[in-house]
């Protein structure tokens, strides 16, 4: 059994479609009240995982616990909010009707809804637009009204699947503020996003998935502690200098295309190694133009993890075993 207080816990979660494992032994823990980023390349199984956490897709194997119960239980789903990646809704409804329908499904009373629907419309920046039919909404407005639906019934756990894909920069900032407000109210947010900068700004913890497995999960600080990327620009990058640099840190990338200039990107383990880079440049008679440590970011980590990890071997076991593993 899974133990402890967590908003989401999965163990060895699997989903096999026609003998191909889309989610392949995914083990994940999301604590209560966290804003959790779920990252990975296209086709990593992120959306399938979210669908299993919501009970839309039945797992082929493994365990799922959401808010201490099974997502198949309506009482658990009553405390969830969900903004699907493809925010498609009944376009013949008005914004208000859409919220009233979803509110009633979620068990809100009519009196509650009269207060709550205009409130969440205001929160997502659609105040006063609730009387218009969804068929007349722009893509961005549809995504906003979907977000309003996700937070409508005061959920304890909200799944946001690419919540800003149709929004302009202002809309993105507003969504970030909404997520931060949810965090302030103790709501757990499960954020599925390609926008790494967005995840970086709001998430407490992240997990990287590839080929249906979690490569690494942890708090931003834990994950970022690993490497310090440095951009180096010199007039000439001799092989001897390159070898010396490689002793200080890992040379990720070199740029020798610009005449009279050469660049290199290095990953250092510690900030203390920075002066050693300058020393190496001077010792090899090169002239230093720039030595820029970058704040470690998710993109660096993403590339390191996703590009660095080999593709796992294809599912070798027979179909029969895989279907109900």
């Amino acid at each position: 059994m899974l133990e402890g207080v967590a908003a989401i816990e999965t163990r060895e979660l699997r989903k096999v479609y026609r003998s191909r494992a889309v989610v392949d032994g995914l083990t994940l823990t999301v604590g209560e009240g966290e804003v959790f980023g779920f990252l990975g390349p296209n086709g990593a199984g992120k959306s399938t995982t979210v669908k299993m956490l919501l009970g839309l897709v039945h797992p082929s194997g493994g365990e799922v616990r959401v808010l201490g119960g099974s997502p198949a239980d309506p009482a658990v789903r009553a405390r969830l909010g969900f903004l699907p990646e493809q925010f498609r809704f009944q376009t013949w409804m008005t914004g208000e009707e859409f919220l009233r329908f979803h509110g009633r499904l979620a068990g809100l009373s009519a009196a509650e809804l009269r207060v709550r629907a205009p409130q969440v419309l205001g929160t997502v920046g659609l105040g006063g637009r609730g009387g218009e039919a969804l068929s007349g909404y722009s893509k961005g407005m549809l995504q906003r009204v979907g977000l309003a639906g996700a937070i409508l019934a005061r959920p304890r756990l909200v799944f946001l699947d690419e919540p800003t894909s149709a929004l302009d920069p202002i809309g993105r900032v507003e969504v970030r503020e909404i997520i931060e407000r949810l965090r302030g109210e103790g709501v757990t947010v499960f954020l599925n996003s390609h926008l790494l900068s967005e995840v970086e700004q709001v998430c407490d913890r992240v997990a990287f998935v590839k080929s249906g497995r979690v490569l690494r999960q942890g708090s931003m600080r834990e994950l970022m502690g690993g490497v310090l990327p440095v951009d180096l620009r010199v007039d000439h990058l001799s092989p001897a200098l390159l070898a010396a640099l490689a002793q200080v840190g890992e040379v990720r990338h070199t740029d020798l295309n610009t005449p009279g200039r050469a660049g290199a990107e290095l990953w250092l383990e510690r900030e203390d190694s920075l002066p050693a880079l300058a020393d190496a440049v001077h010792a090899h008679g090169a002239r230093l133009y720039a030595l820029t440590p970058r704040r470690p970011d998710l993109e660096t980590l993403f590339l390191e993890l996703i590009e660095g990890s080999p593709e796992p071997a294809p599912v070798g076991e027979p179909v029969r075993g895989a279907a109900r593993a």
């Binding site: 919501l54 969900f82 699907p84 498609r88 809704f89 009944q90 013949w92 639906g149």
Partner: protein, 290 residues
């Protein structure tokens, strides 16, 4: 049940809002007006001929009024046929349409069971389809009565059988909608309807030609799709004695009119079949990935 009723209400509002109801009412009014105008002209012609023949009047249920009776019978056949058509077309995407468009995801993530959703969709569409066919059927028979004074012997049992057929078709279409894509479902249900109709024709020819094989084939098709049998049962209730006697004389050569009341076993089977279809749809949709 509360959630199922909520979905049923949604389906009703959807039908109204998508102009389905308005379009239907307008087209149906056009159909009824056209048909009843024909009956009106027919009645005028018959009256005039009776006067020219020096008759005092015509008996409503006599052989002289056969053409009015046929007009009522075929009118009701059209109501039944249009009702089936409408039931299939309105319901064909009841579940699959929302799955295909992606609307279903945000609905199913709510605390509603999928069985409740399917049940609600069936209830909602059945209400629309049944009320529609009941209104059109009543309007047609009422119009014919006002114009000619003719009332079929048992209009209510006849209408009830037609409505049972509509309920069954709606249930099968909802079932198909949880199994197949919208397009495949539409084709599938119409093929099934065609099988029922073919069964009726085979059975009719089988009786006429006294061929037990054809009669058996007809029975198989009627069991598989009882809609045509339900219509034939309804048509029996609509025929005055003079028409029934004509049917006996021709040994049931008219595959549109039934020569005997419908066996109660068939009525029960049609109702059970509809219920089974909905239950299987509820079960099937619950175990599927979205």
């Amino acid at each position: 049940m509360h959630n199922a009723l909520l979905i049923a209400e949604l389906s009703l509002r959807e039908a109204v809002r998508k102009r389905l109801v308005v379009v239907l009412l307008l087209l149906t009014a056009a159909f009824l007006g056209f048909y009843l105008y024909g009956v009106f002209r027919l009645e005028g012609t018959l009256d005039q001929r009776a006067r020219e023949a020096g008759l005092d009047g015509r008996s409503v249920n006599g052989a002289a009024n056969l053409s009015v009776m046929y007009a009522a019978m075929f009118g009701m056949y059209l109501v039944y046929f249009l009702g089936v058509l409408m039931a299939v077309l309105s319901t064909v995407g009841a579940v699959s349409g929302d799955v295909e468009s992606g609307v279903m995801q945000s609905v199913i993530a709510r605390p509603i069971s999928r069985a409740q959703l399917v049940l609600g969709r069936w209830l909602g569409f059945t209400a629309v389809n049944v009320v529609y066919v009941a209104l059109v059927g009543a309007a047609l028979l009422g119009g014919i009565f006002l114009i000619t004074g003719f009332v079929p012997p048992a209009p209510l049992p006849a209408l009830a059988l037609i409505l049972l057929a509509i309920t069954l078709v709606t249930a099968l279409t909802v079932l198909g909608s949880t199994l197949f894509t919208t397009l495949a479902n539409g084709i599938g249900v119409f093929v099934l309807y065609g099988a029922g109709f073919a069964g009726g024709i085979l059975g009719s020819i089988g009786t006429f030609a006294a061929s037990p094989t054809l009669t058996t084939l007809g029975k198989v098709a009627n069991t598989l799709m009882p809609t045509n049998a339900l219509w034939l049962g309804a048509s029996y209730h609509l025929q005055p004695d003079v028409l029934r006697q004509m049917g006996e004389m021709t040994r049931g050569a008219n595959p549109f009119f039934g020569g005997a009341p419908l066996a109660s076993g068939m009525i029960v089977w049609a109702a059970v079949y509809a219920l089974l279809a909905v239950l299987v749809a509820m079960w099937q949709f619950s175990r599927r990935d979205l």
